[in-house]
Each structure stands twice: as C-alpha cells, then as structure tokens.
C-alpha cells in the first residue's frame, strides 16, 4: 500500500506537466472531442429522437442529399450574400472609426472603451432590442424616418430592399450583426496601428506628412496583414451566426433569413433529423477549414 502510494508520488514528481494537463484534457475529451467524433459518426446514419426507429447506416447518403438539395444551396447562397454585405459594412465603418481614433486626444480612451459594449453584451439582448428599434409602429427608427422623410419601412418583412433586392429582413439581420461586430474590426485595425512605433508617428508629425501620405506609406503597410486576419475571423464567426437571427426573425418571414446555422437548427430540432443536421455541420466545417487554409497561406506567403 505504502509502496504504491510512493510510486504514485514519484510518478507525479517525474512527470509534473503531464499531471497538470490531465484534468483539463479529460474534460475536453469527454465533452468536446468525443461528441465531435460521435457526431461525425451520426452524419452517416439516419437518426431521429421522436420516432422509435433504430439507427440506420446510410453511408454518404445524407451528404449526397444535402449537396443535391436546392433548399440547402439556397441557404448557402443566402449566407454568402449576408456575409459579403455585412463584412463590407463592418470593414468600412470599422476602418473609419479606427482612423478617427488613431491619434491621441482627450477622451480617446473613454471612447474606445465605450465601443466595446456592443461586443460584450449578449447578442440575444441586442437582437431583441433591435426588434423594438425596427418595429413598424412603435420603433424609433421608423419614427425618425417618418418625421424626416415621411416614410415607414417593414424592416422585418420580406419586401425587397434597394440593396441588390435583398429582403429587408435580411438587411436588418446584417444591420444588427454589423452593429455588434464593427468595434471588433476597429479594435484589430487599431491594434495593427498600435504596432506602428511611436517614433515613426512622431517622425511623420515632425516631417509634416499630409494625411494621405501617412495613410499610404505608414498606416496601410502596417495594417495589411491585419486585414487578412480580420476577414478570416469574421468569416468564421459569420458562418456561425445564430443567436441574432433566432431572436430577430427566427429565419422568417418564410425562409428569407434562414442562414446555414438556423437551417441546421431547424433540421435537428424542428424536423429532428440529426443525421442530416450533423452532415450539414460537417460540410460547414470543411468549408471553414478550406477557407482558413487559403487565408493562412496568403498570410504566410505575404510575410515571407
């Protein structure tokens, strides 16, 4: 008994690292890695919780069905359009804010801190509140539009908007997501600018460089690698967009705002088709891995 206790102690003191990592590793194994492998397995089965039907191995059938289903393609295209426009918006606004915040002035720190709030509060809370802001009858946004231009818009409806004819509901989703994430873009660009040595800023000041020269020869070279990174991170996160859509429109009206994540949710927990839902999840994962690879390669090549 004593011997085994000693040898256990010995083992720990010989391999402290191993022992320190073990508990964390076990938890990750149980609730992350194992479930993921299991769900990969599930994607090759027909499996549902409501009907007492036994698991049925169908091979790649779930995948083939999804890849040939016009419904799935429709969701992918919607998600693509959504990502494209919201990234454009977030980048334009985030870059502007970052440029305005680039130089030191009184109150700069406070402003930068305040902008962190949209990022930190729950997306569910933001989305729910935008439902109020965008409400046709009582919402302040329509109230402002009414007073200024005498118009009101069905922000959460399926009517086509002037922007590429996308439905207003999708535009609203883009608006909310961009409201949440623009500060993120801004922070990363600011961080990139933070990498510009103070010496260099001051040199530009003493040399009397104009704003455009500063932008072109100082700021852009430094934030170039950041831009690729922002795109990568925002792409990954945008593909996962769920909370805001669920609360704002629940994918509706009809399926106008049914992005990939919402579609997976519906497959799994409305139609209870776990097999197809997990298969679609893995298609998304493959897509993300492919895209990050492209970005990483671009980054690595760029950095030599």
């Amino acid at each position: 008994m004593k011997l085994s206790k000693d040898s256990f102690k010995n083992f720990i003191s010989q391999h402290p690292a191993w022992f320190m990592v073990l508990p964390a590793l076990l938890l990750l194994l149980a609730l992350n890695i194992f479930p993921l492998i299991w769900s990969l397995g599930l994607s090759f089965y027909k499996f549902t919780l409501i009907i007492k039907e036994p698991l049925r191995y169908v091979g790649g059938q779930n995948y083939i069905e999804l890849l040939t289903s016009p419904e799935a393609w429709d969701r992918f295209i919607k998600t693509g359009a959504y990502i494209f426009i919201s990234l454009l918006l977030q980048f334009a606004l985030g870059f502007t804010l970052a440029l305005l915040l680039a130089e030191e002035f009184k109150g700069r720190r406070l402003l930068t801190t305040i902008l962190m709030i949209p990022l930190m509060i729950a997306p569910v809370a933001s989305a729910l509140f935008f439902r109020y802001l965008l409400d046709y009858n009582f919402g302040p946004i329509n109230a402002i539009l009414d007073r200024l231009f005498g118009i009101r818009i069905y922000w959460l409806g399926a009517d086509p908007s002037p922007l590429f004819g996308l439905p207003y509901a999708l535009i609203s989703v883009i608006l909310v997501e961009s409201w949440i994430w623009t500060p993120f873009v801004m922070y990363i660009i600011l961080a990139g600018m933070g990498a510009i040595p103070t010496d260099l800023w001051e040199q530009a000041e003493v040399d009397g460089l104009s704003f455009w020269y500063k932008l072109r020869y100082l700021i852009l070279p430094y934030i170039k690698p950041m831009i690729a990174l922002i795109l990568m991170f925002r792409l990954m996160d945008s593909l996962k967009t769920f909370d805001t859509v669920y609360v704002l429109t629940a994918g509706g009206p009809g399926t106008t705002t049914e992005l990939i994540s919402v579609y997976i949710y519906k497959l799994a927990f409305i139609e209870w088709d776990f097999g197809s839902a997990t298969a679609l999840s893995y298609l998304v994962i493959v897509l993300v891995i492919f895209m990050t690879n492209v970005f990483m390669r671009y980054l690595i090549l760029k950095r030599g």
Binding site: D199, E202, V206, D207, L209, L218
Partner: protein, 370 residues
C-alpha cells in the same frame, strides 16, 4: 535660414515625475550643441520640447526670439533623427522624398534634391531599395538624409549612433562632423555617451535629474567640472572625491591624519567658502602617479601615502584602487607604467598628485568652490 534656440524656465512634469526642472538654456546659431546625461535625466524630454512633440508644463521656447511654445511640431520646420531611425515602410527614395512632397515641392525639384543628398551620404545606389533590405548603418544614413534634404531651421538628433556597431559609429560620426562643417546649421545632439559628446560638440550641457549642471566646451567641462556629478560622469573612470579638512591654524589641508597641502592663500580662500572646515578634494584618476618609494613633496606636487586595495586590468589600462585612511582613490595607469612599477594588493604606495590638477568641492552643495 538660421536659428538660435532659447529655453526659458522650462519645467515638464509627467504625473508625479518632474522630468525637467526650471531649465534655462541658450543655443547659438550654427552651433553643434550636445545635451549629455545618464538615462532618465530629462535630456530626451528637452529635445522633444524643442521639437514640439511635448508641451512644457511651465516656461517658454523661443526660436530667434519668436515664442513657439504652442506651435505644433509640423510648423516648426525642424528635422529629427531618432535613436531607432524610424523609417517609413517603403523605398529609400520615398523615405527621403515624402517630407518634401508633403510640402508641395515640385516633382523635379524633389528628384534633384533627393539625388544630391543621396550623393552626399553615399546612398545613390540604394535609392530604389526597400528599407527592409538595408543594413542598420544605411538605415541610419537614410534617416539622416531625410533630415538634411528638407534644409530645416534646426536639426535635432536623439542618440542617433548608439545602435550602430563601433566601427560604423565612428565612420558616421566623422561624416556627421564634416557634414556640419559644410552645411553650417544649428544641431542639437542628445547623448548619454560622454565620449561622443566630447568628440562632436562645440558646447555641451550636462544634465542630471532634470537639471542642467553645467554648460561649456568639452575641456571646460572636463577640466573644471562645476559639480561632483559632472566630475564623476565625465571621464572613465570618473573623478575621485576625497573628504578633507581645512586646518586654519597650520594653514594645511588634511586627508585624515595626512597633511596633503600647505598654503596660506589657498586655505584662507577655502575657509571663506565653507562653513565647517570640511571640503571635498577632486582629482582625476589619470592625473595621479604611483610610486613605490617615499619622496618629498614640492615642485608643484603633493605626496600621499596609501595602500593598494585592488587592481583591475581593462586591456588598455590598469586601474589601481588605493585606500587612504578609509577613503578610496582610483588611479588610471597605462600598461607599460604599471608593469614597470610592479605592485600587488596590500602593498604600500605613494601617490604623487600635481597641485594644479586638484579641485575643491563643497561637501553639502556638491558644487565646485575652487
């Protein structure tokens, strides 16, 4: 264009730290002026105040009698060369040309002037290269070229040579010196390296803890330091300081039990300037000579007895630490003299000190009194 710079009662406070305290300084037109001091003494802050990158908490800055205290940096027409070259991430040509182009100088003229400066500093071959492809020495040259090309009123250099290896440093230093002879402009040069300041400057201001201790030519500062700090800071190793007593009755100055000097005039002068008969003797390590055998004082020398405590070999010199009644003196000897003398720790030695190399300081204020 020419300019003299005047700082009047400048104080700069960062939070609780006083970086510069009540500074008054006048830099003459076309002068090569060095601000010398240890790190954290406020020398860089002073330079930044002159550049307009920092606003003084109190006091005014004048260029040619014109108050520029609240003028932003870009309107002061000064050029700066920082310690770490601070180049824009683009080509050498663009780096030199951008300040001119920003000022709306015509394309042909920009080309012309960049060429000239590149020629001057030997950068012609490298104009089209990206700065990442340059050696540190070349980068610092580009930084210098960018300053020169603008023909500014005033050059501000902030330890521009410290990051270079010794050989390049010496080459660029020589070029800088000859450049100043040609362009004849006011240069303010900040450094912590006493050798650099002594080698380059017409005049030096020695700073310590936000205060200017002394302003003068290199040898004024070296030979007649105005305070203990200046004496210690200039020279390697710095000046020795020994607490001594003035004996009014015997007209002598005593180091512990030893009488080192006897002079009525000197003693009466010293008594006038101190209030408790205590003075500090200052003497540079290279002006003390060691001897093994006792000898009479006289003929402009004084002799002090001591014991060898420690010997340090630095390659070019020997530094011998000698104890005198609980005080310590460093003696700097060249290698031949040391080997001829042949001494070892714990041996008795006699220090021969020329009288004209002895200075006197006040023990309380630490200022030189004679």
């Amino acid at each position: 264009m020419m300019v003299d710079v005047r700082l009047k009662d400048i104080t700069k406070v960062f939070g609780k730290v006083v970086a510069v305290r009540n500074m008054n300084l006048e830099i003459k037109d076309k002068e090569f002026f060095a601000i010398l001091g240890p790190s954290g003494c406020g020398k860089t802050t002073t330079l930044r105040i002159i550049a307009g990158l920092e606003k003084p908490t109190k006091g005014r800055v004048y260029f040619d009698n014109q108050d520029v205290t609240s003028l932003p940096a870009k309107f002061r027409d000064v050029a700066m060369v920082p310690q770490f070259y601070a180049l824009y991430p683009t080509t050498v040509y663009n780096n030199i040309a951008l300040p001119l182009r920003s000022r709306g100088v015509s394309k042909e003229e920009v080309k012309q002037r960049v060429r000239e400066v590149a020629e001057l500093l030997g950068l012609t071959e490298k104009l089209h290269l990206h700065i990442d492809k340059l050696s540190i020495g070349d980068k610092q040259k580009v930084s210098l070229a960018r300053a020169i090309v603008r023909k500014p009123k005033l050059y501000l250099l902030d330890e521009p040579l410290t990051i270079l290896d010794p050989v390049t440093r010496i080459i660029i230093r020589s070029e800088l010196k000859s450049l100043q002879r040609r362009i004849k402009q006011t240069i303010i040069y900040v450094t912590h390296d006493q050798i650099e300041a002594m080698s380059l400057a017409d005049r030096i201001a020695v700073m310590n803890m936000g205060v200017i201790e002394q302003v003068g030519t290199p040898y004024e500062i070296y030979d007649k330091p105005s305070s203990r700090f200046v004496g210690w800071f200039i020279g390697e190793p710095g000046m020795n300081f020994l607490e001594a007593e003035v004996d009014k009755h015997s007209s002598a100055i005593k180091l512990g039990s030893q009488e080192v000097l006897q002079s009525k005039t000197l003693v009466s002068k010293l008594v006038e300037k101190t209030n408790n008969n205590k003075v500090v003797i200052g003497v540079r390590p290279e002006y003390i000579y060691l001897e093994k055998n006792p000898r009479e004082a006289g003929n402009g020398y004084t002799i002090v007895k001591g014991v060898v405590e420690l010997i340090e070999f630095t390659g070019t010199h020997y530094i011998v630490l000698v104890g005198i009644d609980g005080r310590e003196v460093k003696v700097k000897m060249n290698v031949e003299d040391y080997r001829r003398l042949n001494i070892a720790p714990k041996e008795n030695v006699y220090l021969r000190i020329p009288l004209d190399k002895i200075l006197f300081f006040d023990p309380v204020s630490e200022k030189r009194i004679l």
